[in-house]
């Protein structure tokens, strides 16, 4: 009984002393948090962009006429910008996702410092890929 009593007492003491403010809006976030949040945001964007990708696939395969009209549609700057934005979200999501897969293998998860470095690497690689995509889409 005494053990139970002390257990309950310590439980409630711990409970009442727990920090209640974990409002992330008031905490300065490290780069790893921004990389993670952006991974989520890009994921939600991509979920909706699947409709666009399927539409493009449908147009490209339905008939020779629809293939041609898709080509004409994709020559407009607005359409190119939309495609670039969707592919940019995809590029970022894949790069950040590969970081997760590498960490799942046990690589680069030994300290916060390596996590911070790999998060920066995600930003650098993603920006490079997104700029190359812009070059490919707008200049090609």
């Amino acid at each position: 009984m005494r053990i139970l009593e002390s257990y309950l007492k310590s439980y409630f003491i711990v409970k009442t002393k727990r920090p209640v403010n974990l409002d992330i809006g008031t905490i300065k976030l490290p780069i790893t948090s921004y990389v993670s949040i952006l991974h989520r945001v890009s994921g939600v964007v991509l979920f909706l962009a699947v409709a666009l990708m399927l539409w493009v696939l449908d147009m490209s395969l339905a008939s020779k006429q629809s293939f041609q009209s898709l080509k004409e549609c994709l020559s407009s700057p607005i359409a190119q910008f939309v495609i670039w934005a969707a592919l940019a979200a995809l590029a970022y999501h894949v790069v950040a996702g590969i970081r997760h897969l590498i960490m799942d293998l046990g690589v680069g998860e030994d300290s916060f410092e390596t996590g911070r470095r790999s998060a920066w690497l995600v930003v650098v690689v993603a920006v490079a890929v997104i700029i190359s995509l812009a070059g490919w889409i707008f200049l090609w």
Binding site: G43, F47, A51, L61, V94, L101
Partner: protein, 122 residues
């Protein structure tokens, strides 16, 4: 385990694995497509149709859309159950989240049916 009835595998470990396997399938598809466009930047309709009309490519594309379906289900479930909560947006959170989850599932099913229709209509 309270709200896991709407998750894909009803278990965190199962969802974790499905998320990674589907990620690998989709990444393989992306790298294949990038490679295709590097080799042939501007395919003709006939070339493009021949590629997607082959059985191997149909299976690859089907696996990819099924991976998209599972991956999006798990990912959107995580996001919805994290942010559309009573603590964050008030007492109406539960009906709103239920509506969004059902809409999400409906959209995923639409994507899968649409993709099969495209691939087997070539």
């Amino acid at each position: 385990m309270v709200s896991s009835v709407t998750s894909l595998g009803r278990s965190g470990l199962s969802d974790w694995l499905v998320q990674r396997v589907s990620a690998l399938v989709m990444t393989a598809y992306i790298f294949f497509m990038v490679g295709y466009f590097v080799i042939n930047p501007s395919p003709s309709f006939e070339q493009w149709q021949a590629l997607h009309g082959s059985l191997a490519m149909r299976i690859f594309s089907l696996l990819t859309i099924l991976s998209i379906a599972a991956h999006a289900w798990i990912g959107m479930w995580c996001v919805l159950t994290d942010y559309i909560t009573v603590r964050l947006i008030g007492p109406k959170a539960t009906p709103i989240r239920m509506f969004l989850q059902l809409a999400m599932i409906a959209l995923i099913l639409l994507y899968v049916v649409w993709a099969i229709d495209i691939l087997w209509g070539i």
